[in-house]
Point group: D2
Chain length 364, copies 4
Amino acid sequence: MASTYGRMFRVTTWGESHGPALGAVVDGCPAGLEISEEIIQHDLDRRRVGQSKVTSPRNEGDKVTILSGVFEGRTTGAPISLITYNKDSDSTKYDVIRDLFRPGHADYTYWMKYGHRDHRGGGRSSARETWGRVASGAIARQVLKHIGVDVYAFVSELANITMDTFDREQIDQNLVRCPDPVAAERMVTAITDAKESHDSVGGIVEVRAENVPVGLGEPTADKLDAMIGQAMLSIPAIKGVEIGEGFQAVKMRGHQHNDEFYMENGRVRTVSNHAGGMLGGISNGEQIIARLAVKPTSSVAQDQRTADIHGQDRIVLVEGRHDPSICPRVVPVAEAMMNLLLVDLYLMNRSARLDHLEPGQELI
Amino acid sequence: MASTYGRMFRVTTWGESHGPALGAVVDGCPAGLEISEEIIQHDLDRRRVGQSKVTSPRNEGDKVTILSGVFEGRTTGAPISLITYNKDSDSTKYDVIRDLFRPGHADYTYWMKYGHRDHRGGGRSSARETWGRVASGAIARQVLKHIGVDVYAFVSELANITMDTFDREQIDQNLVRCPDPVAAERMVTAITDAKESHDSVGGIVEVRAENVPVGLGEPTADKLDAMIGQAMLSIPAIKGVEIGEGFQAVKMRGHQHNDEFYMENGRVRTVSNHAGGMLGGISNGEQIIARLAVKPTSSVAQDQRTADIHGQDRIVLVEGRHDPSICPRVVPVAEAMMNLLLVDLYLMNRSARLDHLEPGQELI
Amino acid sequence: MASTYGRMFRVTTWGESHGPALGAVVDGCPAGLEISEEIIQHDLDRRRVGQSKVTSPRNEGDKVTILSGVFEGRTTGAPISLITYNKDSDSTKYDVIRDLFRPGHADYTYWMKYGHRDHRGGGRSSARETWGRVASGAIARQVLKHIGVDVYAFVSELANITMDTFDREQIDQNLVRCPDPVAAERMVTAITDAKESHDSVGGIVEVRAENVPVGLGEPTADKLDAMIGQAMLSIPAIKGVEIGEGFQAVKMRGHQHNDEFYMENGRVRTVSNHAGGMLGGISNGEQIIARLAVKPTSSVAQDQRTADIHGQDRIVLVEGRHDPSICPRVVPVAEAMMNLLLVDLYLMNRSARLDHLEPGQELI
Amino acid sequence: MASTYGRMFRVTTWGESHGPALGAVVDGCPAGLEISEEIIQHDLDRRRVGQSKVTSPRNEGDKVTILSGVFEGRTTGAPISLITYNKDSDSTKYDVIRDLFRPGHADYTYWMKYGHRDHRGGGRSSARETWGRVASGAIARQVLKHIGVDVYAFVSELANITMDTFDREQIDQNLVRCPDPVAAERMVTAITDAKESHDSVGGIVEVRAENVPVGLGEPTADKLDAMIGQAMLSIPAIKGVEIGEGFQAVKMRGHQHNDEFYMENGRVRTVSNHAGGMLGGISNGEQIIARLAVKPTSSVAQDQRTADIHGQDRIVLVEGRHDPSICPRVVPVAEAMMNLLLVDLYLMNRSARLDHLEPGQELI
């Protein structure tokens, strides 16, 4: 609901871009999990802006503090409160947009919905909100590690440049998080060019999950496909999601798209994986594949037509330090959402079968 | 949750393809709404198979009966129970797949998740489940009519044939529900060809909503984009969703993709609508546009490799009457999901602002 | 939410007293459970009115039909739809209250909330709605049987007559479901007297659960005490709930009320059970005890002052066949609610600890 | 769910008694509400321990800081994050109970449920958690003020002493928050006596709500009675809840208990209010009345039998500064829960009727 993700593993984020602090509360995390600020910070550092020349140079001070739910290094089952304090929060530069609506941003819709808004840096609609998702996602990642699931993401296309080779080791070796180092270099150039022309570029982020148990996802409303759709389209700047072949499936015939089954070491496998790891909305044990359409960043330093809260036509020039492409920063957020989702579904699904329930006095 | 859609306007569907009946329970519908079996049947008739030569010839007997929640022609606020009884339910032809997993279907994943399944006609995973969505969606459509919102969908691409012209009046004039009558004819031919070659084809369904109030959708987890993603990806055979420009946005630059604002008759409008009617996850009053990737139907009458519940490699030949393309039938289901979603968000959003709350004794 | 109980084991009831049918949909029941109409009917028969001279003589035809979710005698994990068709539905006798509000009933509040109501027999507010709870509760009881939990209820006080002895075997041996046969006889007389004087009497129903695993219930909002409070106060005519000593605890001192611990066969037990089976909102493995205050039935065949929908003062005389005490019929409903609640919490709690999660490919 | 109260006005609390901080996140508060740390602090100061000789002398430092969701003195619709930092947190005195289970406390059940616990001061099960409820409740109170609803609570019985007179002005004039100053003095003496004899006493807290709109509460599962039951039984130390006459209704006859209706100034009123302000689970506009059974505090400075985590029988002596009666401190918490609940139901109920929905472009 609104600021809360998940049903069993529930994450509530709070905080505005230029408020005193941001945070997240994780409720429903199994007790006994080893967790520390260092483990969480590791994921947060991958999200941080100011990390390279292709992303915004602000120092946001993403340092996490754990305020509850962890005792002597392990979770207690109580809600885990995570906080970071905002720095660098001179917001006078936002005075100019106090009563203006920036095109592509949420200024107008928030104004209409709420009638009162924190305009500084986008307030609640700022991508800074994803801090809480990544911090919580790091905890989810630890739970998944316990059951052997492995999630990662990368940039597969940017500014019309697509990757040709895949080497997972390369992803964190370049500034755009592309697994193809040659394409990565061209992408960096494209971002630099966009920046110089006061413009921005879009791209595609792909998320994968390996070693996912068979059986995650529910029939009908909560299909795994549907839950991935919600999780990914809740990330700022995402305007499309596809699973497996996705929109390419549209061009295929049924006999091509169907993934035939065969037995391998006593386990049912599929010959191909056009379905992206799920059938009937339930995981089938193959690699989960989702691709996200990332729009070009809305903040471009050019004059744009707009209106203001007084109903006047205006011209706005959005200044400030902005990412010419948000794609590299979407990578850790997409991972976080997939981690959160898979833990949530895993916890929800442990009771699907009667033979999973243990007779007797103990909760198992 | 699982079989339930929505939070304020909650729809729970139940029933299997070859069980005695299917149905839906709608809870949270405002009292006082005029509704009748005729109104609901009108939408159901658009969903029905056997309606044309390009869809499956089964007579499913989709007739709706209202069992509760409506008194003297108007809703009472109590849950509305809708039921239809299954006919034509000789299921012996499914004996052959009792212990086999059809490629592309949910047989294998249901088997693994639940350990016991109704194999007849796909059981719960059958597209027959959408009966309850369309029946409930017809009620949602009546609520939306009250506030002036108008939802419709159509096939924009099928078997690599794309529409070139748009005439809303044409949609229900042809068998494939394409607003371009010329493309429609070619699509019909493509479906017939696919049928003859024992194969199936995919396509794209576009859903639009007109006259949507500004302010629907919540920040962060429940963005309007995200809720559309979940709603549409919960429809059988959908493998991708995009909003506005969607995956085309990936190729654009920021200054192109941003929709500039201007004043029109005292109302803030956008010059273009690349965003598809929402900003920051909240409706902006422009046309809502979503496109769905529909995979080619999984039931193809060709030999396919598979495995069985005993861990043996097998060959399966899926026979029976099947739609060579599900696209025309996705149209009313996509409309239903959009209707359900918009009502749900509308009811949820009436309290967003304090000045929406009325002092005094009355609930308003 | 409204017509839905539970989070993992979700029951949605629907139907009005004099509509064509009533029913319930159970979503989230583990697959593989043996269930049949006979098993469910057994619990329903205990609820039925017309079963004795101390309850209403109507023949309500409570026969259950399973419409979905069960295949070859076992649950499939799909929603289970249960239905019963109303008989004996001449509702002309309710014409007199079409525009009147019966004191003690929901006529006035439904009218104000919904502006349109089915007045026949109380419509949705009729105790007939509990049919769906008892039918669903019978399924929950089967799940609990699998893990060894045993729930039962009885009348401990009625018309100021309290039980002095407890013999569980006696409960179903008398018309009022009192475990003390001597008190039971006096209670029957009191009910007959009330009936003759056109009046009604209240009482207390006690619910117990044996062999409950330690660990059910959540900290803070969803304490086991709180969930029992909600479940029991959702039953018609219940105006109070107490756990363990309940309102008697008010008179005690701390050293008396505290249940001291001791070891018994390697298990932590309590010397006394003033707390009624829970500490800090979590089950402690001792007997769960809740007591419900049942108000005297509101339908009394005496002239009463009232008002009508036109704002006029009126006199109403409620005629018809009514229970002079609802207590005996609350017994199976209270059992149903406890069964539903305990299954729900059990399914929700299987993931509380990391060491409950199984590494590897399987959902356990 | 677990640490979250409410569905529209959602409050998530977090924090342990001796962790670095405690807090609450309020999501779903209407935008535009005037709120400040001063307004919230006012309610928190009423909850604070150390406020008198009859409550614990600890200085808990309850000072609230608002971290998000409020901009220039008014809510923005974004989640409101409230925090307080713990002081006085020397927890070495709790070392003695690190592996012991205190009778009447949650030590044993948390240990069994989670397998790892923060034992210091009760950790998450400490009544200190109610800080977040009272802080959030202060915001809810401001919303209710806008619509004219007024909630208050008081101690009506303590250590077998009952109040004889009612003067609302007296409630905050004495240490036990009893509206009868004579009874209040006797209660203070009783608490002092209990303290001297190393014991504790129970009592009854009554909560009332005035001027509640007709129509709050839902049929069946979410009856107003049921929601009050859950809210109040989620407060630490509460073991019973009754509405209106409650357990006294058990002794009454139907014609006595029914509240007859009459017209007063064009409004339907009841002659009496045995039902405590609700009929059929829906508010009827009369005063809402609930009474809570408060058990005697579990911490008594006497030797008690117990067991430890190693399965050994032990003797425990709980030392430290404890309240000999928690009743005076339950008062602000009970008010908070009622405030939270009524706002939640009010926001949820604004769409119950079609004629409450406004046609056209605006969300109303």
